[in-house]
């Protein structure tokens, strides 16, 4: 398919391939937003840093902060596709949300302090937004940050914090003004995850992995300069970060690559009558439809990026892309399990497990996407309200 690359993007694509060929890390590409294993962390940081220093990642940053000055928003798109196709890891964490927040709201000292460490991947970031009582209704969050002589005293609890167990820093939303209207009393902070009073407790998800966490704050003393922007700007910072997260989701785990993998499986395997799966009409039709939906997802994501660059983005673009991606993904892995049949049930460590248990993990993980970054029910509300003007 076209997704036509300009000459410049074609060169960029080639640069990625060259870099991957020369620097391929001895690390698995994990599905979705899975965290690297603890003992893989050093190699993982090195790999991510190499993407930045080769100017393949963060190219849209201002030149003085390490960017290549390229205005082309499609570079990230091309990079994610290439990394997925090459089966090498992408750079996880909230760094993209944080860098955006710092560029728009951060002070120079904050940019000087944190941006280089994002590029060197000395700091892995997590996003401290959701709470047990504030999921879909994030604005009702209860964590507090009270001003004292030293800075800000934080108390509260966060949940569903991906990568908190490997993160060095966190982007925190806390209430600084209990008296103010719900959204207006929220502020954003940088939190050192190793500070006294910060407790990270892993949550185990249905895949068996523990990449989500609860994070407890017991009288955590943040310095004054931990505040990003002004008090009360937290909600604005959060909504921009969430929009970025939603448009990113489609690129974390490209569905086209999954469908291609299923086509491979269908070519190499037979049904119980001895017919190659790819010869069967029902299989071909299902794969073709999934492929079309995956391409449509990529197109919407691609268009969304073009619109942001042109300044014509629509407020419902990000929720729409997130909906499209997560549901195409869910249907792809659901069909994948059915296509593979009972061999898909072997435990991933079993010698018989097809594709080393990839499909089983992907199937279990799929509902993570339809819930995280704002549930699809909330996304539908946003699309209806913002896109169609339907009443709240």
């Amino acid at each position: 398919m076209r997704l036509a690359l300009t000459d410049e993007l074609g060169e960029f694509q080639q640069a990625i391939r060259t870099h991957v060929a020369a620097n391929r890390p001895d690390l698995p590409r994990l599905p979705g937003t899975r965290s690297p294993e603890l003992n893989d962390l050093p190699a993982y940081r090195e790999w991510c840093a190499s993407l930045f220093s080769a100017r393949l990642l963060g190219t849209d940053w201002p030149v003085e902060w390490g960017g290549s000055g390229s205005e082309d928003p499609l570079r990230d798109f091309v990079l994610d596709d290439e990394l997925a196709a090459a089966r090498v890891p992408r750079a996880i964490g909230a760094w993209n949300l944080v860098s955006g927040a710092l560029f728009t709201y951060g002070k120079d000292e904050q940019k000087r302090k944190y941006l280089p460490r994002i590029r060197s991947f000395e700091d892995i970031w997590c996003q401290l937004f959701s709470e047990p009582e504030a999921g879909s209704d994030l604005a009702s969050l209860r964590a507090t940050a009270n001003r004292n002589d030293t800075g800000w005293l934080v108390n509260g609890q966060k949940v569903w914090t991906t990568h908190a167990h490997v993160a060095d820093l966190g982007l925190l939303l806390a209430r600084t003004d209990a008296g103010s209207a719900k959204h207006g009393g929220i502020s954003a902070f940088v939190v050192d995850m190793n500070m006294p009073g910060v407790t990270v407790r892993p949550l185990r998800d249905i895949t068996g992995a523990s990449d989500f966490n609860e994070v407890f704050f017991d009288d955590v003393q943040l310095p004054v300069d931990a505040l990003i922007g002004e008090p009360g700007q937290g909600w604005k910072i959060a909504t921009e970060a969430l929009a970025r997260e939603r448009s990113q989701s489609v690129r974390e785990d490209p569905v086209v690559a999954k469908v291609n993998r299923l086509v491979e499986f269908a070519i190499q395997n037979m049904d119980s009558d001895g017919n190659a799966l790819i010869q069967r009409h029902d299989v071909r039709q299902q794969l073709g439809h999934l492929y079309a939906r995956a391409k449509a997802t990529d197109l919407l994501g691609f268009e969304g990026v073009l619109r942001v660059a042109a300044g014509s983005e629509r407020t419902y673009d990000a929720p729409l892309v997130k909906l499209m991606f997560s549901e195409a993904n869910l249907d792809a892995v659901t069909f994948g399990e059915q296509l593979i049949g009972e061999p898909a049930l072997y435990h991933e460590d079993d010698a018989h497990a097809p594709d080393e248990g990839y499909w089983q993990k992907a199937f279990l993980f799929a509902r993570g996407y339809t819930i995280s970054a704002g549930s699809n029910e909330i996304m539908r509300n946003l699309v209806a309200e913002r896109g169609l003007g339907l009443p709240r």
Partner: protein, 374 residues
């Protein structure tokens, strides 16, 4: 696929304004229920505005635009629920321009540009059941064409036909005139009574060699036809969604607009997703064809898979959300529902295109096994 330019927006707005004037719901209804679904007055107005010259090269006094612009026009006609042979005429003209001999170009392009030629096509592909193709065989005077084919859009109003036929086991394209001896067009009645399709019958039609084009042209006819069909569906689905949103905002039950109920909001959100993916994939197909009429098949089948399904799904949900009123004969909704269904099943149903996509992906994998994994 670049975003639409300001020129595209201008063309869209201008087309929409004219159609809003001349194709009000009442007018569309009257035309659909009349014996002649071809709106000669609108055709004349369009010709005077230069619509018929959109895709004609400048050498024949045309504006020299591409499939992208024709798709915009097709979409707007879809939005107005007005059936018209203008998109097929412009699409066929473009194919004649690219693949046709000097003879074909000289004979047809000026007639299209000035508004006297009405062109339609028969792609010979996408049928759900086996259908014998038109056959071309060599003769002393060139070739002879025999056979019949159904579903020519506006077949009974057309003055020219761009058809796919089989010659020695390969597909070729042939341009015919309604006045050619041995050509007969019979009216067809279909689910979409607002649009007259035609059945073309060819009995020993003499075809000069200059009127025959190769397999590339045959492929292009199909790809262009599917894309313009999708563009029409994009327009009609969008109009149905807008009508549904307006209806649910104004219809009050239980003391509130029914559009404020979450279940309905979610249905309409899904309808918007259908409309958006149809729009994006169709635009991509049109963009691909604007760059080259050859090699766009994957983009075209992606568009038809998504859009064919989207049109019918949106129409069906639109009816549901209108409740009882949507089920009446008098409400225009079913006119669009019928067209969406026809567009879903003609020129290859979504499942047909999905099989084609599976073949495309499989071939690409065989050609280069590296770089396709996750």
């Amino acid at each position: 696929m670049p975003l639409p330019t300001s020129d595209h927006t201008e063309l869209r707005t201008a087309t929409r304004d004219v159609l809003a004037h001349h194709c009000t719901p009442a007018q569309v209804r009257a035309r659909a229920e009349s014996d002649d679904t071809f709106d000669a007055d609108l055709w004349k107005i369009g010709a005077e505005l230069g619509w018929n010259a959109l895709s004609i090269p400048e050498e024949f006094d045309g504006i020299g635009l591409s499939i992208t612009e024709v798709s915009i026009v097709a979409e707007e006609f879809g939005r107005a629920a007005q059936a018209s042979p203008l998109p097929t005429t412009l699409g066929a003209a473009l194919i004649l321009d690219v693949f046709g001999s000097g003879y074909l170009r000289q004979r047809w392009l000026p007639l299209v540009s000035e508004g006297t030629a009405v062109l339609t096509w028969a792609t010979g592909r996408g049928a759900a059941r086996p259908v014998p193709p038109l056959t071309l065989r060599e003769s002393d005077s060139g070739y002879l064409l025999d056979g019949f084919t159904d579903w020519l859009p506006h077949g009974t109003s057309a003055t020219g036909f761009l058809v796919v036929a089989v010659l020695d086991e390969r597909e070729v394209a042939v341009q015919l005139a309604a006045t050619d001896e041995g050509v007969e067009v019979l009216p067809m009645q279909s689910l979409d009574f607002g649009q007259q399709h035609g059945r073309l019958q060819c009995s020993g039609v003499v075809v000069p060699a200059e009127a025959v084009m190769g397999t590339d042209a045959a492929d292009a006819i199909f790809d262009v036809a599917v894309t313009l069909q999708c563009a029409e569906t994009v327009g009609l689905a969008s109009a149905l969604l807008n009508a549904t949103v307006e209806y649910t905002k104004s219809r009050v039950q239980f003391g509130r607009p029914i559009g404020s109920f979450q279940a309905l909001k979610h249905k309409m959100s899904d309808m918007l997703m259908q409309c958006e993916t149809a729009r994006a994939t169709t635009w991509e197909a049109a963009s691909a064809l604007s760059e080259s009429l050859i090699g766009a098949s994957e983009a075209v089948s992606v568009a038809k898979s998504i859009t064919g399904r989207a049109g019918s799904s949106v129409a069906s949900e639109a009816l549901q959300l209108h409740g009882g009123i949507g089920f009446t004969w008098e409400h225009n909704l079913h006119l669009s529902l019928r067209r969406a269904k026809v567009n879903e099943l003609l020129l290859g149903a979504p499942v047909w295109h999905e099989e084609r996509l599976a073949s495309v992906v499989r071939s690409r994998m065989a050609a280069s096994p590296v770089n396709v994994g996750v």
